[in-house]
């Protein structure tokens, strides 16, 4: 039978185990709580950005203005027709302020699609200005917002007739940046991020993996390789802005590459993620059991054959995971890109690697700095898209790991 001392010690050990489990669960709970708090704030602030206020007015497509391309004039006459009592110049300007300054584009597109419209009347839903948008979404009251008293009155009258509605905000996904919040979108930034990521992946993956393979499988273990190894580990810990400065000095000032280009951004991010990829790949290569290498060498495989036939395929899940996580990290990077001019205000969606562009995190940074109330929700929405981007990449890492995972 168990004597008393053994029993007491056993009880203490079980208690210690229970305590440890409890600590673990508590820390997981705290981490989860932070995550949920983060997501709730961002989603809570940002989800309204996916809707956009529209105002339905009857537009008459008169031949005169259409011919001159004065579609803004069409918008103005439509509003004037809706509120005939507004006559004073200043009042009229305020009235036109209800509608976004970009609303005329819709009319132009309509006429281009269907020239038969000219001379006819149509009810068209036009983009409201951001001040109206904020009031309709309830972020500000009609009095506290930037609407003037008459504007608030007109809006109320429009809402009474059911002319004001919330529609899905496609502009947010397709447009580039803009000074007008209702016309601003993340399209440009997403495309810029994608271009930069393609450059990073195409350079960092092959370079990083071949470096890791060389150091791990071929290089002699001497003072030089040790020095290189220490340096790579140190590089991984260098603050990212230093890589930005390096990029500025090397790519822009010395090699005269264009400013704000995704190519340069990708190059800087490559420099930044290379050490991480090399370290992750080396760890993955190290984890391949030496007995596999011996077996292949014993059969007469050359070093390169051992690597390409056995070691690399077995290390691939780890290498891919490391690469994707490094790239995802690079995608979320802001500081080094500020250094090479990707912080510029860019309206056009980049069409190539050399076009001026911005990236998602920089877009977030820019919008977070803008005074308009409507940019607050757009900032959160852009963060949501960035997070979704990262979540997809991490998911990809998991899927790839599962797919390539093997036992030995």
């Amino acid at each position: 039978m168990i004597d008393e001392r053994t029993a007491r010690r056993l009880a203490r050990r079980h208690a210690a185990e229970r305590r440890f489990k409890l600590y673990g669960m508590a820390s997981v709970a705290v981490a989860l709580a932070f995550l949920v708090a983060l997501l709730v704030t961002i989603v809570g602030k940002g989800y309204t950005a996916f809707a956009q206020t529209e105002i339905a007015v009857e537009v008459s497509f008169d031949a005169g203005p259409v011919k001159e391309g004065d579609f803004a004039g069409l918008v103005k006459s439509a509003l004037a027709a809706r509120f005939p009592e507004v006559t004073a110049r200043n009042d009229k300007r305020e009235l036109f302020g209800l509608i976004s300054s970009g609303a005329d584009r819709v009319l132009r597109d309509m006429v281009q699609d269907d020239p038969g419209l000219v001379g006819q009347k149509r009810v068209v839903t036009l983009l409201a200005s951001d001040d109206v948008d904020m009031v309709v979404k309830g972020h500000v009251t009609a009095q506290s917002g930037r609407l003037t008293a008459p504007q608030a009155e007109w809006l109320a009258s429009l809402r009474q007739t059911g002319a004001v509605s919330l529609g899905f905000n496609t502009t947010f996904f397709t447009a580039g940046d803009s000074r007008e919040p209702e016309l601003a979108g993340v399209g440009g930034a997403v495309v810029g991020s994608l271009f930069a990521m393609v450059v990073t992946l195409c350079l960092a993956f092959p370079l990083g993996v071949s470096t890791a393979v060389y150091l791990e499988e071929f290089a002699p273990k001497n003072r030089w390789t040790e020095l290189i190894e220490v340096n790579i580990n140190n590089l991984a810990a260098v603050p990212s802005i230093v890589f930005g400065l390096l990029g500025l000095a090397l790519f822009l000032n010395f090699l005269n590459m264009p400013r704000s280009a995704p190519l340069v951004g990708g190059l800087v991010l490559t420099l930044m993620s290379l050490p991480v990829i090399i370290i992750a790949s080396r760890a993955a290569l190290k984890a391949v059991p030496p007995s596999i290498r011996e077996a292949a060498r014993g059969l007469g495989a050359s070093r390169l054959q051992v690597v390409t036939h056995h070691v690399l395929p077995l290390a691939m899940p780890g290498i891919l995971t490391g690469t994707i996580i490094a790239t995802a990290h690079a995608i979320g990077e802001t500081a080094p890109l500020l250094m090479i001019g990707m912080v510029a205000f860019i309206v056009d969606i980049p069409a190539g690697f050399l076009d001026p562009a911005t990236v998602l995190p920089v877009q977030v940074y820019l919008w977070a700095d803008s005074p308009e109330r409507a940019f607050v929700e757009r900032t959160s929405a852009a963060i949501m898209i960035l997070l979704a981007f990262l979540a997809v990449m991490n998911l990809l890492a998991i899927v790839l790991r599962k797919k390539f995972e093997r036992r030995w």
Partner: protein, 269 residues
């Protein structure tokens, strides 16, 4: 000891070397500054099983690895002396280690099949050495190798399953099949049965005896009984030296050296 044994070995040298498959002369091996083998000379005859025995750490594996230059992979390792395969010095004649290892195959202590299918495990060697000109020929090589390794009945319906999914004994026989698939002339086995149960061991031993018809085999073993059962000649290593080498019968019944006698009767080791 050296004084007594040298003349005997020297006499054997002339006639043995002419018929030897592999012969080693004055092989010294260093790991860094540490000497692991001291002036080892031995002749390994064709179509015989030569067993290497000796206490742990005496350099049996080290010597075995010299015979197909697997020691090249260990950075600190340095080999001096000469080893001939069919009269050709494998260290200095410019023979490519890759080709050497196709002629001198190896089976390791722990079964180490590739994490690939059973078929691909066996087909790997022939593939990299270009031994098969067609798919049918490769199939043929795989099937005969598995048959020679005594594994065919157990795996013929599951050639596309993972080699790592087999039992330990089956895995070891798969490794043997993999080694003989490249038709080596010599097969080196480093304690091939140390991870196996008695039944699997018996199967592998049976296999070794059959393989002797076609190949020259050098086997390292810790089991006296195994050495006695499978080998024709036995070499006894002690502290990096080859103390005694001769007919297995003679070594086990009438060892010339006191150390050998002590080891085989279990008084030390």
């Amino acid at each position: 000891m050296n004084v007594a044994s040298k003349p005997a070995m020297g006499q054997a040298t002339l006639e043995d070397r002419r018929s030897a498959k592999v012969s080693a002369r004055d092989v010294d091996v260093f790991y860094g500054a540490k000497q692991a083998l001291k002036s080892v000379s031995i002749d390994i005859r064709p179509n015989e099983v030569t067993a290497l025995i000796g206490p742990s750490g005496c350099g049996k594996s080290t010597f075995l690895r010299c015979l197909n230059r697997m020691n090249d992979l260990i950075e600190t390792c340095r080999v001096a002396g000469s080893i001939w395969l069919d009269g050709e010095d494998i260290y200095t004649s410019g023979l490519d280690p890759v080709l050497l290892r196709a002629r001198v195959g190896m089976v390791f202590q722990k079964p180490n099949p590739f994490p690939k299918t059973i078929y691909d495990n066996v087909a790997y060697g022939p593939r990299i050495h270009g031994l098969a000109r067609s798919r049918a020929e490769l199939d043929e090589i795989v099937m005969t190798s598995l048959e020679k390794a005594g594994l065919i009945d157990e795996v013929k319906d599951r050639l596309q399953e993972q080699g790592t999914g087999l039992s330990g004994g089956q895995q070891q026989r798969l490794c043997i099949a993999r080694a003989i698939a490249v038709s080596p002339e010599v097969i080196l086995m480093d304690e091939p049965c140390s991870a196996l149960d008695p039944i699997a061991t018996a199967k592998v031993e049976e296999l070794i005896d059959e393989l002797r018809q076609r190949f020259t085999i050098v086997i390292v073993t810790h089991s006296m009984q195994q050495a006695a059962r499978v080998s024709q000649r036995t070499g006894f290593f002690h502290l990096g030296e080859l103390v005694e080498c001769g007919e297995t019968e003679q070594i086990f019944t009438n060892p010339r050296h006191k150390l050998t006698q002590g080891y085989i009767t279990g008084r030390f080791g």
